[in-house]
Assembly symmetry: C2
Homo-oligomer: 141 residues x 2
């Protein structure tokens, strides 16, 4: 049987080593989260971005303004709504997100190499399930 409680604990603990990378450009967690969300979800209005982030709207407004000044985020007017803008990553912003991803891949690769072939096979098999779990979570709430 699947022990969800233990699965949760294991993921919580795994994340302590997965999430914490030294962040290059003095970006805090909120900023990195915004960049990651924009990377995944393409152009978003500020309000839609707000739904994912643990920030109030004024904080997000000023964070986005700062990321824009840093050349990581672009905004263009929303053709469908004069009040809104569409936010997306600049190529520099994409580069940064990719670079953090690459760091994680490198780190994980080093660990995975120490596993047995059987253990690696288990991980390989879990990829699609984790993906489906994420998709379910995004549909369900």
């Amino acid at each position: 049987m699947l022990d969800v409680d233990r699965l949760t604990t294991v993921i919580e603990d795994f994340n302590t080593i997965f999430i914490r990378l030294p962040s290059v450009r003095r970006l805090n967690f909120s900023a990195l989260s915004v960049l990651h969300t924009l990377h995944r979800r393409g152009p978003l209005r500020l309000t839609d971005l707000l739904a994912t982030e643990q920030l109030k709207q004024p904080a997000l407004t000023s964070l986005v303004a700062k990321l824009e000044q840093d050349g990581l985020v672009q905004r263009r007017p929303d053709p469908a709504d004069g009040r809104a803008s569409l936010l997306s990553l600049t190529s520099t912003g994409q580069e940064l997100v990719r670079s953090r991803h690459t760091n994680r891949v490198t780190k994980l690769t080093g660990l995975v190499e120490q596993l047995t072939p059987e253990e690696r096979a288990v991980l390989a098999g879990s990829i699609d399930v984790l993906h489906r779990l994420t998709a379910l979570a995004e549909d369900t709430p």
Copy 2:
């Protein structure tokens, strides 16, 4: 074969739904991280705690002071070193960490129920591997 790149992406994306819980007591990410670390690693000196957290020492000092005032963290003198104190969670602090864990378990349970039995079996099998991966990460750096 195990595609580490894709595994990394899948975990990154999964985390966007796993990590972000509405936090009860106005605790920010740094505070939650400290509480989680103390919960996992038992009593720690400030300097040892510092190694896990993405904060500079003065910021951690004041964060811990605040958590202490909020009744979530305790400090007692380190018997082995007069300069240091040992930090640990109060029972309220433990309660809070457990409560967040329970929220995640609830959320995950709802998702897992929508999986097929085969998919659940895959997840069950991956628990030990994820655990081992974490252990490796903590030994390796």
